[in-house]
Symmetry: none
Subunit: 253 residues, 2 copies
Amino acid sequence: MIRRARFEQVRAASDPGGVALSLGQQIRNHVLTRIDSGEWPEGSRIPSEAKLVEQLGASRMTIHIALRDLSAEGVLLRRQGAGTFVAPRRIQSTFLELRNIHAEIESRGNRHSTDVLCMEVLNCDMAVATEMSIAPGSPVFHSVLVHRENGSPIQVEDRYVNPQFSADYLEQDFTTITPNEHLMAAGPLEEVEHVVQAIPADESNSALLDMKAGDPVLLLRRRTWSRGMIASSARLAHPGARFSLAGRMKMTG
Amino acid sequence: MIRRARFEQVRAASDPGGVALSLGQQIRNHVLTRIDSGEWPEGSRIPSEAKLVEQLGASRMTIHIALRDLSAEGVLLRRQGAGTFVAPRRIQSTFLELRNIHAEIESRGNRHSTDVLCMEVLNCDMAVATEMSIAPGSPVFHSVLVHRENGSPIQVEDRYVNPQFSADYLEQDFTTITPNEHLMAAGPLEEVEHVVQAIPADESNSALLDMKAGDPVLLLRRRTWSRGMIASSARLAHPGARFSLAGRMKMTG
DNA sequence: GAACTCGTGTTGTATATACAACTAGATGCA
DNA sequence: TGCATCTAGTTGTATATACAACACGAGTTC
């Protein structure tokens, strides 16, 4: 149990006062941090499972499963008998890169303003729980904002935030900083999921977006992962007539 | 070792003369087969780990890891204390990878068919010339197809192709190969541009996509570059109610 | 009836062990 | 040199065990 005790120290040092992470998560973070910082560059070989057992004090199986998961996600490449390597970085797609609506509007030379319609904490129902991968009934932060370009509504942002990721979310002033900007500052972004849909505007959206009910709405659902959890899930509804999403990607890499 | 022996028999019976699969792979197949066949329908609860231990004769950890992987892939949903459930099937299309619609439909286990509405060469007008970055009046190939999933229309593909990129485009049989597949084979893809819009269905689209005029259409405009020119420009119109685009990207490396 | 408690069954995590499969370099030999 | 062989090191798979965390329903109490 000496090993376990040693790792407890590591946990205490690297995660002061925070939520207790599982050993697997800690190993994961250990690896991701070193890749991020450049300490373990792309293509380089990382320490063997046996070495990580020594360094981190977890058992080999625990290390193994963590590395196996990272391999399945494409972060690492493992070759039996040879070792574990940092995977070449994926083709960096500019498509649907994290859009900051404030910067976007300003870059068009227009004025951005925000109406805050709702800021609350609520106990999530089954649907939100599934969407956020958290337990049903546990508290989540919820906000509804309308973004305007030169006064004309261009996006309804309906967002749920994991309190474990950003405890002070509800204390922000979203007329001066966008939720996106706040969340970016709150923690390292690991993964983003986008789903794009065209749906008819319901009563709520049509009123907020200044369009007729049934008119096409371009709905962008975005979920972001950070520190191993779903940090935030947002529904970004845009008037179809006045909005498009665009992106280009190079296939050279 | 009794358990192990019993499973060897299962393997021998279910995989006669084939390549020896790992236990994990067999468990995986066991689960996927039952989901595919409908024996375990969407949303239903599958046997607990303990029951699968009895039925398959593998140890709980082996079962656990197999189910865990399937959960990470989105095939299963697991809730601690409650059980393991078949995840709702994702009707989503990835657009970060350029998978063609044929492969996409087949991967969902459905049947793909194509109606060819138009195959022609025409001298391009100003709008198409700008879109393709070629001289106005010069010849371009034009095709209009309807893609169907199990007979139901799911995409109208309206495409212009640069003859300099693919001279034999009009000679293809697009009921057996998709334009996308042909173009991929015709030259190396260098760059892709996407624009996504939500628009109301016009008369033409509403008829072809089996929807009412004015219903939301998810329009994906895609231009591809190859050998330094715009190889093709396509408008892919999807019924908003039955289609979504999804993409996920890792930020870690 | 409503709220609470507790037990059973479930998945989640971590460990120690054993052996198989594979790689890459070292070694030995002709 | 060229080739085969061996060996140490590495990852892959499977197991048995233990306990933690959670869900849900059956009682129990008020």
